[in-house]
Symmetry: D2
Subunit: 338 residues, 4 copies
């Protein structure tokens, strides 16, 4: 049983989607929609099995298209996803899922009511590196979490109606929520706008701090205006510490047998601090393209009806944090409860 797929949007990310649909057994690209004539031509020449249409509405009327992938700017996610679900299509929607908590909630319940798969493209959760870290965290070798610190910066301003948090932080937030059992309690965001491109001053850099539970912080630095590209996440536990550097070609995940031990000192009030520094372990990471793994998972969820790893509920949770972050930004960094 081959599933007919339609891809909506053929800008930056759409080509990756279409390529992976085409190369996944059991999926076949039947339609592409894209407003720009020239890009639509590129798509249909490269994938002759897909018809090209200008509007997503036309695409949704294609009777053999059972599933759609939404690769449009965030502003259109809700409208298109809603229409697709109402048209009876399974949906894989880009990240973040939608522009507001309300929109996400409506999509969640709509998908539920219709019995359709609604999956969010949190690509990193299909990466071998994140899977490996999840294994380590779950196995207990990391111990209790102390902090999560992520830096995701580079020179590369997305022209957008949304600030840098909505563009870059969904990656880190989806990883954070996937790895940790705790839920965020409150969020603070501080940012600055260095390139004013719309009537609003959208933050081009931001620092996001999340209280997970007492003593456990997550911190995310996102920046469109950094001279150097950094993609580095520190995950520190009481037993081991992990560094995940996504720019390393071969050694993305390093597990440090490092930590601190406390022993009683000379007096009752005295504590001796001793470091434990041991070996470092660099696990072999599966090298398959994450988007390909995701596509196979999408297919299997459609076939089997299971809940996706990156289901609408996860998408909602990410947007909940982003919305709280926006509220905090407006209050100049005041913590906002989630």
């Amino acid at each position: 049983m081959t599933i007919g797929v339609g891809v909506i949007g053929y800008g930056y990310w759409g080509p990756n989607m279409l390529r992976n649909v085409a190369s996944t057994d059991g999926l076949v690209p039947l339609a592409v929609s894209e407003i720009k004539e020239e890009r639509l031509g590129l798509a249909t020449r490269a994938y002759p099995s897909a018809v090209g249409v200008r509007s997503y509405e036309d695409l949704l009327q294609h009777p053999q298209v059972e599933a759609v992938i939404i690769a449009t700017p965030l502003a259109n996610h809700f409208e298109i996803a809603r229409a697709a679900l109402l048209a009876g299509k399974h949906v894989l929607v880009g990240k973040p899922m939608a522009s507001s908590v309300e929109e996400c909630e409506e999509l969640c319940s709509l998908a539920e009511r219709c019995g359709l798969v609604l999956m969010v493209d949190h690509t990193f959760l299909y990466a071998g590196a994140v899977q490996k870290i999840k294994e380590f965290v779950t196995s207990g070798i990391v111990g209790e979490l102390l902090y999560f610190d992520s830096v995701r910066v580079n020179l590369g301003l997305v022209r957008s109606r949304h600030n840098v948090l909505w563009d870059l932080a969904p990656h880190d937030l989806s990883i954070l929520l996937y790895l940790l059992p705790e839920r965020p309690v409150a969020v603070s965001a501080i940012g600055a706008c260095h390139v004013q491109q719309t009537d609003k001053a959208l933050a081009t850099m931001a620092y996001l701090t999340i209280k997970m539970r007492p003593g456990v912080l997550a911190h995310i630095h996102v920046n469109w205006l950094s001279p150097v590209k950094v993609r580095r996440t520190l995950i520190a536990g009481t037993k081991r510490m992990i560094v995940y550097d996504d720019l390393e070609p071969d050694e993305k995940v390093k597990v440090y047998d490092k930590g601190v031990e406390l022993t009683a000192g000379e007096t009752a009030y005295d504590v001796l601090v001793q470091y434990r520094t041991g070996d470092v372990h660099i696990p072999k990471i599966a090298s398959e393209e994450p988007l390909r793994v995701e596509m196979v998972h999408f297919r299997d969820c459609i076939r089997g009806g299971g809940k996706p790893r990156t289901a609408a509920e996860q998408g909602l949770e990410v947007v909940r944090i982003l919305s709280a972050a926006d509220a905090s930004l407006a209050k100049e960094g005041e913590f906002v409860k989630i």
Copy 2:
């Protein structure tokens, strides 16, 4: 005219001080004070010109000692510096200068009244790399400052009565204040304690955010519990961006000819964003040991009576920010005016 110097404290930093006193023309180590007998023995065996005493009070009575260097824990800075000034000695005190704004202010006016040099050991301002960046910033090639982002983390908990901010952030703060003409307006600090070593829960990691002027942020991440050592500062301006990586042996400072240009788009509301990526320039950096440069400067200030590059006023300003940061920490990150 050789200046007799006394070094107070021979723990972690004192040996570096004594070594540089001994190797600087015009300075001679005449006395060392240290409570621990064994360490005192090490000092006097290595530097026979210096007499060893147990208490700093004894050292201050040495008539040939004209200048003292205070290399004790922060808690003792104020008391010792005050006594030294009252005893008519020039003073070079470790960073941060003292534990409170009031203490710093008292030392400032005392030094002023006595006509003595009071210098703070903000070592990095004597480093070739920081001097080179200062040149670039002053020359105008960096343009207007957009942000200052510094990460100073490693595994290495100082057993202390003060949190990680007081230990590590003085480096970044002194560099920030030296490079930028603007003064900080408000400070937010968020932290967590992962190793409780005193009755108070002292932050072992913290994120410090400083508003310099509208749209210009400084952010400092300090952490005693990081698996990897990072010493990296990004300084972004409208024309160029600088990366200062203090762990690079040869290429500490990189100047990126990168930026963003805005041009009018198709409609009045439309702005086109274009990146400018050009060459990278790695200037040759003077390799002299910063502490040695600092020692020569201390000598020259004593001889000539000039104001040190890292005068008491700069020390005070750093402590003002640290104190505000502590207040913000207590309020869980609320911005505190400076």
Copy 3:
């Protein structure tokens, strides 16, 4: 005038060729030949404009195919290139051009006689980094060449009838010959076989030393069995030194203002050596895919009849060195004249 292109071989490199043919204006893929049915299917599904045939002979009979690209193992290069030229097709042949000097010479004169373009796929000469280094060398800022040292190692054994020199060294040799005005005088090669895969013991690692002129050496280390991947070339001149690290994503070429200066010493026999260490310059490099630049160049040579940058003569020269290297390998490193 669009040029019909046939790609022969759809193994490791063929897909890259076909993709770039398809995306180059003025070229259109009309045919693919590949022995393995399954891979042939992949090619024609991805590029529906191309017919798939099993044998290269069938492909050569396609009347609209004006140019062919040979992406087969080295053993077949000569036979196929010869047949293609005889069939009146322009040819772009993989590196190295053929298995022997005689074969290369025959192809050279055949192409000459037929008035057809015969180009060798020395891809690196179309890379922005190599172009930039060529500029520097030509401009004179590097000074006179002192040495050329290249390391090209990784874990990745090509199953082959040829040793590692024929697989990896053509890259370095083509760069060497392109950058330097001097011609090689003699070659020494020493190697070892650590995986015996045919009846002959083919070297899996080798060190190649080339005398360019008195005092100027080129040295190339190629290795299929290295735990780490290295692609690093040092090019030292009397005035400046260049490091070309092809694995660096953004900073592939670094120009060091480093060198040595000699001055007269105290006595007539005495020479004082002083280092000159100055700034480092990292030029911006064009980021276009080299194969794409090459494809445009192939098209332009066909249209305009000009000599390719990587013409058959260059391919011959590389093979001349490889053949001498094989002779030296057999004599355990004895220098062999070229």
Copy 4:
């Protein structure tokens, strides 16, 4: 029982020697000899327990000096070491041990006859990293050795009467001989001189190739005129491969679980090559200063009469290879038997 030590030569390396003598329990610096008055003054001011003399002959007459450390240029090693042994002193001599095989042999038998310790300063064999690699090799986890490849290059010309091989290669040769059970069979050396500083053209760069046994090569690249500093050794075995990068501050040794497996292919003549890529292991390395470990070992050998880890015999073996290398250099790379 404290051993009185004399240090001969206070140029580049002497200060390190004196510092480590002074800080080693059981050793005490009693004398320093140095021709240059100014440097001698530096030594005696820093280490007041040592008397300063201008000639080594005077130092050897000091009755309390039981052991001497020779930190002079290579040209003087033999003469001084011989005189010291004849004066009844234990000797630690810099590397390489002497200028010729004959000199080394004479020193070996002289030390033997006199019953004195004669140790060579092959410092690296006291480094934690080399000790750890030795453990791995001895334990069998590396498997049978395939090759040893070392690069030791930087900008830094030693003004010398000897070529770069005699200056830099002793490090690599001593490590090679320590790690491998096999003995070198033949040596080839090719070099070039880019800075003529004496009447002879001394190689400033050289490639040394050593045949260990059939199929096993060692290769060493040493260079005084490299724009970048590299200290990297690859040690490949049939089971694992090790990369030793001495410039890495924390991760000097990496053990790669990488290799190649051969399986029967479809036909009798066919072999399938498959890579094995697994985890990477970075062992914790003892961080003690190698020279300090060496000094303790020197003391213990004097006290206990045991054979040093870097005994005169090892020094001789290194010089044997260097001499053969010089002979090969003169014959432009021809292999010379050892």
